[in-house]
């Protein structure tokens, strides 16, 4: 359960005033030269004193405001007693500046300073984080890149109020402990599994045959229909800009103000479903890339993704920024209000429905039920499984994945609210590289939930060989999610240009959430020489092996 304690990170040693000031304003550093220091700081989010890993004494670390076209120098000093790193998530830069230990460089040793230096070649909202388990302990922050000339202007004109909203999940347990708990018992944090009581309730409401039928598919396959998130509020306190729900992080805006909120999905194992009750939200950008504005009531943000959201403050009162975890065990919460200290009504957590048959069966479930409600679909083509998917690492394969993008995802379907789907996201302008892809790479997202093994094509990172991209080729990567979880797949160093189900360019992103039993395709222009990471951005899936190296050579 959430602590209502004020949960702002406070540095006690060495300049507490400065640190707490920074924390309150989420600290912003601008320019071309930056000095970042990674160190432990005492925090208390849950009622227990713990140490977080902070950048310049705050969690999240300071917002870095860069300018397109600048060459920036960022000196990162490691004050921890273990290796660490910072990865610039979504930034297009030379491979050795990407910050992935073992792939870009050797990491930053204790006491060492590593100097990152690269040209800023884009604009928009991005973020940075450790590419180690230390990400779970607070090592992340937002990056905002302004255009070369002036501020970015959206369709509705410049925003008067501009805030980064970094959503994260905090646990008092060390990240390795979380990982080991999951390895030893994958349902360790799931206290919402179907019970005998649920069965009796179903039998009463639906009749015994229907109650049995509803369970048969899942139980025969040894799959859990409540498997939304590996880690829940049992251990997590969800944070908004490093502040607990009780701490109520607050953004200021007067009635009539144009507001831009730059949401960063910094959860290590958590998707968030975000809304501001009473305020329609216009999505203007995702992963730093402007999209045709689309207005929704709610959107889902996965680990690694960013969404810029704009709206006009309707009146002179407080509104709740509500970000419930996908598994509905908790929420991050803040307020946007004319004055500090205000609060609005808190919505209830939504119910947690079971996953749908399409989340296990893909298109076959749609054919079975004749329910084309979630955007269907010709007879889909069969997935081509890899030889290595027929081993112990893969508990399930989807032969006929669904290809619909107009699905907000499990737990968000059939809402009265208008919920964003990937089908709504359209990059402004043309296909940045209109060449027809020369070749296809098909990769399957695979797992063994019972044993908490995660892999691609059934092969864990350290059993795998890299994906080789040829310099400057345009290629298509097709991902088939053979599991029942949503995986935010992040390719480093190059853009992921998502295609429509018909194969047309649709939206440019750096992190693509692939839903259960879904197939998506995206195009890549291999214009970044060197070695890169490609992985699931759920930290514990990445650690368990859902990770491939990419070599552009």
């Amino acid at each position: 359960m959430h602590s209502l304690a004020m949960g702002t990170a406070l540095a006690i040693f060495g300049g507490p005033l400065l640190a707490s000031d920074r924390s309150a304003s989420h600290g912003e550093l601008a320019g071309t030269e930056f000095d970042l220091e990674i160190d432990k700081i005492p925090v208390n989010y849950s009622g227990k004193a713990r140490f977080a890993t902070a950048v310049n004494g705050t969690v999240p670390g300071p917002l870095l405001r860069l300018r397109e076209g600048d060459v920036v120098t960022i000196r990162v000093t490691n004050r921890l007693d273990e290796m660490t790193s910072i990865h610039w998530h979504g930034l297009i830069l030379p491979a050795e500046m990407d910050g992935v230990p073992g792939i870009s460089f050797a990491g930053i040793a204790p006491g060492e300073t590593f100097t990152y230096r690269f040209e800023v070649r884009q604009q928009g909202t991005y973020w940075y984080h450790a590419h180690t388990l230390a990400e779970q302990t607070g090592l992340f922050g937002a990056i905002v890149i302004d255009p070369r000339e002036g501020k970015r202007v959206s369709a509705a004109g410049p925003a008067l109020r501009d805030y980064a909203v970094v959503l994260s999940d905090w646990t008092d347990e060390p990240p390795l402990q979380v990982f080991l708990n999951l390895k030893k018992m994958s349902s360790y944090y799931n206290f919402a599994q179907p019970t005998a009581g649920d069965f009796l309730k179903d039998a009463k409401q639906l009749g015994l045959p229907q109650a049995l039928k509803r369970r048969r598919m899942w139980n025969a396959a040894r799959m859990n229909p409540t498997d939304y998130s590996d880690v829940s509020a049992t251990t997590y306190t969800y944070l908004m800009n490093g502040t607990t729900p009780g701490g109520n992080w607050t953004a200021l805006a007067q009635a009539g103000d144009r507001v831009r909120l730059r949401f960063v999905g910094a959860g290590t194992a958590s998707f968030f479903d975000v809304r501001i009750p009473g305020v329609p939200l216009t999505i203007v950008s995702t992963d730093g890339q402007p999209v045709r504005p689309v207005t929704v009531d709610e959107f889902r943000i996965g680990p690694g993704e960013t969404y810029d959201v704009e709206f006009t403050m309707p009146d002179e009162r407080a509104y709740t920024i509500f970000a419930q975890s996908m598994d509905r065990t908790g929420y991050a919460r803040g307020t946007i209000a004319p004055r500090p200290g205000m609060a609005a009504d808190m919505p209830e957590l939504d119910p947690r429905p079971w996953l749908d048959p399409i989340d296990m069966m893909g298109a076959m479930a749609v054919m079975e039920t004749g329910n084309g409600g979630h955007g269907l679909m010709e007879m889909p083509s069969k997935a081509r499984h890899a030889r290595t998917e027929y081993g112990a690492n893969t508990d399930m394969r989807v032969d006929y994945p669904r290809v619909n993008l107009d699905d907000p995802g499990p737990g968000l379907r059939d809402r009265s609210r208008r919920v964003l789907t990937y089908a709504d996201l359209r990059t402004v302008g043309q296909d940045p590289d209109p060449r027809t892809p020369e070749r296809d790479i098909e990769l399957h997202l695979t797992g063994n939930m019972e044993r908490f093994i995660w892999s691609l094509d059934g092969i864990k990172l350290n059993d795998s060989k890299p994906l080789r991209f040829r310099p400057n080729e345009r290629l298509r990567i097709t991902l088939v999610n053979d599991t029942m979880m949503v995986h935010p797949m992040h390719l480093h160093g190059m853009w992921s240009d998502l295609e429509t189900p018909e194969g047309e360019f649709q939206v440019r992103k750096h992190t693509l959430a692939v839903q259960p039993a879904q197939r998506i395709s995206f195009r890549v222009t291999a214009d970044a020489m060197g070695r890169w990471a490609f992985h699931c951005h759920l930290l514990y899936h990445m650690a368990a092996g859902m990770f491939r190296e990419v070599v552009v050579a």
Partner: protein
């Protein structure tokens, strides 16, 4: 007493254990559809008609989604590498190769029943990477009116994953107490469809006996923290053992139910009831000793792991 006889029986024992294992795995494979292994057969046509039949009450065919063998035209994921290898820089992400040590004390309990009061244990220590682990498994019972239960034993096993849900074990079992036998052990364990936990192990003893032990259990979630675990255990021996007071054939069947409360995942006190019946020569031994053929015990204990 690991003598020459051991070798003679080793082959028989292993054959026996693997026959048992195969039957359990066969059940797993039965779920597979026949068409999976013919790559050429485009299942589309035949399946489509059955799948799209509306209102059909039969569950969807999902057999091909789990286990099975790769068709001959399956993709080779390594082909994407063009001969390149992963980076050799220091500090590469290695967490997928972590050895995970786990101590699971399934049963640690006081017992009270028609054989007096005593203690019972069942634990499993495992350590290793995802697909190969070292197992140490032990169980035993001591009540005030009986000597150590003849099934009291400890096993040292190599566990190897064979399938997403099944693994095989191979190693040795050492009985504890009077007339202790050393056995070669081979078996299978895993999670059957509908969430049944199964452990089936075959043994070849240094005294020439063959044996088999089956354990099957199921977890009923009354709530997410109150969990009822019914369990079946049975033991079979090929010959009598006077020292252990065990007869040939079906030796015993034990049915139990334990109701635990998970204070945390790792600490769960429980209460339970055990019914155990001896058969054949084992039952005769008990009668001769004036012991009941059917034992009943109430148990109270804790399930722990870390």
């Amino acid at each position: 007493m690991i003598g020459p006889r051991l070798g003679r029986f080793a082959a028989i024992g292993l054959a026996c254990a693997f026959a048992l294992s195969t039957s359990a795995l066969a059940q797993e494979i039965e779920v597979q559809p026949q068409h999976e292994e013919e790559p050429g057969s485009e299942v589309l046509g035949e399946d489509h008609s059955s799948m799209s039949m509306p209102g059909r009450d039969k569950p969807m065919d999902m057999g091909s989604m789990q286990g099975g063998r790769a068709p001959s035209d399956a993709r080779n994921s390594d082909d994407y590498s063009d001969g390149y290898r992963n980076s050799t820089l220091p500090n590469y992400e290695m967490a997928d190769k972590l050895s995970v040590p786990k101590i699971l004390v399934e049963e640690l309990e006081f017992v009270s029943g028609n054989e007096g009061q005593g203690a019972n244990w069942s634990f499993l220590l495992t350590n290793g990477q995802d697909n190969d682990k070292l197992w140490i498994r032990s169980q035993g019972l001591k009540t005030s009116r009986e000597r150590l239960d003849p099934e009291s034993s400890a096993e040292l096993l190599w566990w190897h994953s064979r399938n997403p849900f099944w693994g095989t074990v191979l190693g040795v079992r050492q009985d504890i107490g009077k007339g202790a036998t050393t056995w070669l052990a081979a078996g299978v364990e895993g999670l059957a469809p509908y969430w049944f936990d199964l452990q089936l192990t075959g043994y070849v003893g240094d005294d020439g006996r063959l044996a088999a032990r089956l354990k099957a259990s199921y977890e009923v979630l009354l709530t997410n923290r109150i969990i009822l675990t019914p369990q079946l255990e049975t033991n079979i021996y090929s010959k009598n053992s006077a020292d252990r007071e065990l007869g040939a054939g079906l030796s015993n069947i034990e049915l139990s139910g334990r109701l635990r409360y998970e204070v945390t995942r790792k600490f769960a006190p429980y209460v339970g009831y055990v019914w155990e019946r001896a058969f054949n020569g084992t039952a005769d031994s008990r009668r001769i000793n004036g012991e009941p053929v059917i034992e009943r015990r109430f148990v109270v204990g804790a399930r722990l792991w870390w």
